[in-house]
Structure formats: C-alpha cells, structure tokens
C-alpha cells in the first residue's frame, strides 16, 4: 500500500526537532503500527511507551496532529491526507521522543485519602447496582492521563501543578464521594488542596477521554456542587446540622473505620 510521511518529534530534555519518516502503511493499521514499523526498520531507538495495544492500558497516549490520542486506537485511514504529526504529551516533562515523565499523576494518586468503609459484615457488603453504577463509570479510567495532558490549568500554567490534581483525580474523588460505603468527607480537601476551583469546566478532559467517561458532567460538576453544599449553601448547611442531630443514633455510632 501507499507510503505515508510521519512527522515525529524526536529529542529529550536538551532539545529536539521533528524528523520525517516515509513508511509503508497497510490496510487497517493504527498509528502505533506505523511507529513500530519505524522502530523495526529505520529507528530502533525511537522511544515510545505502549503495552496492550488494545485501548485497555492507556500507555500509548501522545498528540497526533496536535490532539491527545491513544496511538493504538487511532486508525491511519481516518486521519486527513498528508503528513501525520506525532508529538509527546505536552503537559509532562519529556524523557525522550514520545515518552514523557508522568510521575505528576502518581504523586497526585498518593494524596487521595482511601476508601473508609464500615467493617465488613459476615458474607460481604450489601450494595445495589444503582449504588455502584456511578462509581463504575469512573473506574473505567485506564489512566492514559490524556485528560491531565489536555487540561489548560496545568498544560499552560506550570505553577498550578502545585495545587491542582487534575481531571483524572477529580473522577477518583467523585467516585469515593459517591461510594455508598465511604465514611470520609473529602470536600474541603478538593476545594482547598486539590484545586477543584481552578477547573473552569471547559470540558476538554471529557472530549479526549478514550473511555468516554463524562468527566465534567458526572464527576467535576457534581464535586463542585458538593463543595457548594459544604461552603456556599446556608440552606443545605442548616439541613445537615438538623439531620445530623436526629441521626446520631446507634447505627451511626457503630460505624468505625476499617482496619
């Protein structure tokens, strides 16, 4: 089949530039196939991170023609005619070629207060499908970190990385806050330390999510509303006060953090 020109950014922290490769392209191939062909022939040292090649592990995120995409799920024949530009994710420090240092995300993961369920009853917890469905959507996340990459809060403003955990972790916080067994309250934390207020809901995270998770509508906005409940809503605050009073019962008292 026809050859295609791949315009791939090559370099490391000391600098880099585009390099053009003219490669064979076969029917049905994805960008990652063509990258692998370049590795096997012209450039065995072309750095690229990948694992499952089936859209399930989220390792091969890069920017294709300027947009964050999984290389394994982007078909060559669906890209416009002409050279295909491939660059590393812009938000994270470069390691080499298409590989970036995504440790920012692993650092954020450490800050998440874990699930705090009550002790497990004999035979396991009882939860219903409607209780777990919201969380299950967020747990589809494959941690490709493209939402983090595209988010302008840190993509265009490096300093915000200090106080902004990003969309991937907002869905994690949302999942925990919507967990039927959880007894933690992370609303102050997401407002004060995780920078929920920095998100201006421009929805790029949702646009790039390969798992089609409705990050903004189903996680970030509900989190923002929960913060409003806690901080900006006197009615809800009052309601909570009253309810808490009436609910300090044996059931509440019995609830203890898991070992």
């Amino acid at each position: 089949m026809a050859d295609v020109t791949m315009r791939i950014w090559r370099g490391d922290a000391s600098g880099g530039d585009f390099e053009n490769y003219s490669v064979e392209q076969n029917e049905g191939e994805v960008v990652l196939d063509v990258i692998h062909r370049i590795q096997a022939t012209e450039a065995p040292d072309l750095a690229c991170r990948w694992n499952c090649k089936a859209g399930k592990c989220g390792s091969c995120a890069a920017e294709i023609n300027g947009k964050p995409r999984l290389m394994c799920m982007t078909r060559m024949d669906q890209l416009p005619e002409g050279p295909v530009t491939v660059t590393p994710m812009k938000t994270f420090p470069i390691i080499r070629d298409l590989v970036t240092d995504v440790s920012f995300n692993f650092e954020q993961a450490k800050k998440v207060p874990a699930l705090m369920p009550p002790p497990m009853p004999e035979g396991g917890y009882i939860m219903f499908q409607e209780d777990v469905e919201r969380g299950q959507e967020f747990r589809k996340c494959i941690e490709c970190f493209m939402c983090q990459d595209v988010c302008h809060v840190i993509r265009d403003h490096e300093a915000n990385k200090l106080h902004y955990s990003g969309p991937r972790f907002f869905i994690r916080y949302a999942e925990l806050e919507m967990h039927p067994l959880d007894m933690n309250d992370r609303r102050d934390l997401v407002r004060e330390e995780m920078g929920l207020g920095y998100c201006n809901i421009t929805k790029c995270c949702t646009e790039v999510c390969p798992e089609h998770i409705k990050i903004t509508d189903n996680a970030i906005i509900p989190l923002k509303e929960r913060v409003v409940d806690a901080h900006y809503d006197p009615v809800a605050w009052l309601g909570r006060k009253i309810r808490r009073k009436t609910k300090t019962s044996a059931a509440d008292a019995a609830v203890q953090p898991a070992p």
Partner: protein, 271 residues
C-alpha cells in the same frame, strides 16, 4: 524519572517535549468559538436594545390578546403599559421595567455550567479550544472574586424556577383572549413553546440534578430521589441543546410580541 519513593512532592519546571507553539491542530478548531461569539453577541445586543426600548412588549385587550414578552414579565413597575402589570408594582421607576427583572435570568445563564464553558472558551480564550494554548499568562480559575461567585448558580436556579412559573402562567393566560374567550393563536403557541423550553433548560441544569438526587451517596437508600435523578440525567445530557434553543427562542418570542405590538402584523388566530 518515574520513581515514586515516599515523597509526595510535585517537581516543577521540567523541560517539555514537542515544539513550542500554541497548537499543532490542523482542523478548524476556531469554528466553534466563532459561532459562540457570534450568537451570544447578537443575543446580548438584541436583548439590551429590547430591554431598554421600554415599549412594544405587550399586546393587550385592544386587539383581543394578552401576550407579554418574556423580557418584561413579570412587569413590576408602575410605568408598565396597561394590562401588562403584575400584581405588585414599584412606583417611581422611570426606566424600562425589564431592567428590574432581567438580572435573574441573566444571572442564571451567566453562572450556568454550560455557558461558562462556552464563554471561557470563546470570549476569554482560556482555552480557545482543546490543546490550543490559553491566551493568558496566569490563571486562577474560579478560585477568586469575581469568578468564585459562580458557586451561587443554584440560587439563580431557584429564581429561574419562579420565572418559569410566571412565564407559564403568562402562556396559559394568553389562551384566553379578552372579548373572544378561549382560543389558540400563533402568539399563544409561541409563548407556550418558550415556557416549555425554559423549563427544559432549568430542569436539565446541573445544580438541579445534584439537588434532586445526585448529592446522596447511596441511591438504594433514597429510592425517590434516585428516580428524580434518573429522570433528570438524560435531560442533563442535553443541557447544551436546551441552553441554545431556549436562548434563541426567548429572543424570538420577544421579536414576535414586539412585531405584533408595533403593528407590523397581527397575531393570527388559528381557532
């Protein structure tokens, strides 16, 4: 290096890869902001003009109709044209009565999660489109005044509900044509559709979805709120569509009333 030893420090200032350009996108990413700017600007210009005009907002008993423009309802000033007045009126208000009330629907739309997305992108360019550089050097999002006020969205939502109720009342009232009795005119349908779209816009609101059910941790323990939430969720997915449809239609409703009131044409009676 991707070591994750015990520290939880984020290190700033790493060198980034790729060329230092605003975007490498080759598609027409600018189209959406252009459309948003055009439509919103046109609406703002028209609605400002219409709000300040202070006439042609009511079609009354003289032509056997009871049609009021949504920009002027409820008409709360003593200078409202005869027949348009709501039960309560401020005396001594000399400006257009529209100015008394428009802050509420305006506030609702301004703090709406969907419109925020649109105008932050199209007007403030923060960012203009995904993977296109932010136009500003620094960024604090919605953490400070004035944008921290966006958190007041739910109060505007409550106000919006009152307006929706009043506009629905207006629409129903319009079906009773003074001197002619109950009947359907083009104007009644316009008012009814307008009220319906505003309800859809309000009910599909994110704050509404949260307050009706989204805020609970366990749906199985709150079956009724779960039902509300389940009903609202598909509407919420169409919030954008309702936002645009209701925005455009509210202006068209005003245009229609205005044209009838100014005598350009008369409101056609269907039956």
């Amino acid at each position: 290096m991707a070591v994750t030893e015990s520290s939880t420090n984020v290190v700033l200032g790493g060198t980034r890869g790729g060329p230092d350009v605003a975007t490498l996108r080759q598609d027409r990413w600018w189209l959406q902001p252009v459309v948003t700017v055009s439509v919103l600007t046109a609406f703002v210009i028209y609605s400002t003009w219409a709000a300040f005009q202070n006439k042609y907002y009511y079609v009354g008993a003289n032509v056997h109709r009871d049609l009021i423009s949504p920009f002027y309802s409820p008409c709360l000033a003593s200078n409202c044209v005869p027949g348009s007045k709501a039960g309560f009126a401020f005396s001594g208000w000399a400006l257009s009565p529209a100015l008394l009330i428009l802050i509420f629907p305006l506030g609702f739309r301004l703090t709406c999660y969907y419109y925020r997305r649109s105008y932050y992108r199209a007007f403030w360019w923060s960012p203009p489109a995904c993977a296109v550089s932010d136009a500003h050097a620094s960024y604090t999002g919605e953490t400070r005044f004035p944008l921290i006020m966006q958190n007041l969205h739910r109060y505007f939502f409550f106000a919006g509900l009152i307006f929706n109720t009043l506009l629905t009342y207006d629409a129903i009232r319009a079906f009773h044509q003074p001197g002619l009795g109950w009947g359907v005119t083009v104007g009644t349908i316009v008012l009814l559709v307008n009220a319906a779209l505003l309800w859809l816009y309000s009910l599909s609101c994110h704050a509404c979805r949260h307050l009706c059910g989204g805020q609970v941790k366990s749906f199985s323990k709150h079956p009724i709120r779960y039902r509300f939430w389940k009903f609202l969720t598909p509407l919420n997915a169409k919030h954008m569509n309702f936002a645009w449809a209701s925005l455009i239609f509210v202006a068209l409703t005003d245009v229609y009333v205005r044209l009838v009131a100014s005598g350009v044409f008369s409101d056609y009676k269907i039956f």
